[in-house]
Amino acid sequence: MRTWRDVARYHLVMPWAILLIPWAILAVSFIVNLVIFSLAPVGHHEVLTSQGLVQVANAAHNYTGGVASIYILFFAIGTSIVGRSLPFALTLGVSRRSYYAGSAALGVALAVADGLALAALQAIERSTDGWGAQMHFFQVPYVLAGPWYLTWLTSSVALALLFVYGMWFGIVYRRWNLVGAAAFTAAQLAVVLAAVLLVASANAWSSVGHFFTGLTAAGLTGLLAGMAALLLAGGHATIRRATV
């Protein structure tokens, strides 16, 4: 456990690199979107109600998707944590096992903290009528549209998933270089393709469709958590073979 803590400290020796960069990029994306929304307000249409004609904002046009940048950054940090920082950690006498555990623990802790921050920002967004510009930056239809605790949970799980996926990718790249990373990607595509063929051959598209339409955000979160656990195990099995 002590080593885990030291590994986390090792990653945070220059703290802003991991803690702030995702938020800096998110902030840039947020500001750009906010400027655009202020300049070009969301389209409206008029609806005839008992009070006469009422202006209603066009739904589905005020979502930015800008919050995706922080998820992408988590993937990138996951890859660099292995690619750049593993060799020196091994030089410092850390075992691959503790390095992986400590790094993953740090990633999960960051995901939980940043997930909470995303939930808080979403709450602010709701209470300020979309930052005064009817902008839905931290709200994503269906996925991040529930109560704050569900947003916290779903964001944290998704961030952790991408972090762990990035780590696995980084390990494969570290050990087998570009060819390995390409093969790894190809293998994942093959798994997807196999699943598609399986569904198609079983003529099961309608049940798959029902499964997804019936899936709640909480159910989706559970699914993502399961995937994250699988990826975590995959990375663990791979790092044992990593050399530097």
């Binding site: 080593t3 030291d6 400290r9 090792y10 020796v13 220059m14 690199a17 750049r84 920082s85 060799p87 020196f88 091994l90 030089t91 410092l92 006498g93 850390v94 075992s95 691959r96 096992r97 503790s98 044992r240 073979r241 050399t243 530097v244």
Partner: protein
């Protein structure tokens, strides 16, 4: 007592070549051992396997009596900074701070003193250091860690003569105060010769010579003079490489020469010149292993 390093039948095979071939080696506690050999001889691979960074294909590697791979109890008692060490994207002082967390005997004072000796700017990003400065950083970590097994892989690539002298002086001074086992791979053999207590020569993945550095002084002698006289003198001696030019010949005689040999040489008007460590390694790296085993016995 368990030797700090014990290697038996170590083989490392890569797809198309044999990096290490049946290497066996034992290093005693509290000595400075030079690991010498040509580029690609297998020095770095051996050190990486000892440090648990690479895996053996066959054979056994014990550090402090235990396999080093994934064994933190052993790994924390050794330090190995590679020649081409990859560092995270941080500054020099961050690297040293991180190192201080992991090595139980880390000396911050020594690290600071070495930083000053090598003129290393603590606030500079590691990726902006020059080749020589990166080597110096590796030396600072290797020495300040005060690990029981300290391994340097070609530690002074890109270092100027002054900095190399600082390294030798600091290494010896700290070694005297805090004895440990030091394994040093190098190309600059004669320069480091005064430092080394034992010498291991590795060539094409095989250990071709293991000896005390003192025993090697005078173990081979270049004999030169007229061809006939040289031939007469060397009859019955093991020899390496024979060179002829006009009526003159030069032959390396293996094995110590006794007083009678010396007298005979002078009566034949032959020149005798003991081979330096570097010349010896050059010779050793070109020989089939069995001729050398005879000499080290």
């Amino acid at each position: 007592m368990t030797p700090p390093i014990s290697v038996t039948g170590l083989t490392r095979r890569y797809r198309d070549h044999l990096a290490l071939d049946q290497v066996s080696l034992e290093v005693e506690a509290g000595s400075i051992v030079g690991l010498l050999g040509r580029n690609g001889a297998g020095k770095t691979t051996l050190l990486r396997i000892l440090a648990g960074q690479e895996f053996p294909s066959a054979g056994s590697v014990l550090v402090h009596g235990e396999p080093p791979v994934e064994n933190e109890a052993v790994l924390r008692r050794m330090v190995f900074v590679r020649e081409d060490q990859i560092y995270p994207d941080v500054r020099v002082r961050h690297v040293l701070r991180a190192a201080s967390w992991f090595y139980p005997h880390w000396s911050a004072e020594l690290a600071d003193a070495l930083l000053a000796d090598f003129d290393l700017p603590p606030n500079r990003a590691v990726k902006k250091l020059s080749r020589g400065m990166r080597s110096a950083l590796g030396i600072v970590i290797g020495l300040a860690a005060r690990a029981e097994v300290t391994m340097f892989d070609e530690p002074y690539a890109g270092l100027d003569a002054v900095a190399r002298q600082i390294f030798y002086d600091r290494l010896l001074a700290d070694y005297a105060e805090h004895p440990r086992t030091i394994l040093l791979s190098t190309h600059l053999i004669d320069e480091a010769a005064g430092l080394l207590e034992r010498v291991v020569v590795i060539d094409r993945g095989r250990i071709v010579l293991t000896a005390d550095a003192d025993d090697l002084r005078g173990v081979a002698t270049a004999v030169s003079g007229p061809v006939l006289a040289v031939d007469e003198f060397t009859a019955g001696h093991a020899v390496w490489g024979r060179r002829r030019l006009a009526g003159q010949a030069s032959v390396v005689v293996v094995g110590p020469l006794d007083q009678a040999d010396q007298l005979r040489a002078s009566s034949l008007h032959l020149d005798l010149a003991p081979l330096s460590l570097q010349q010896l390694v050059v010779q050793a790296a070109g020989q089939p292993a069995d001729t050398l085993e005879r000499t080290s016995a």
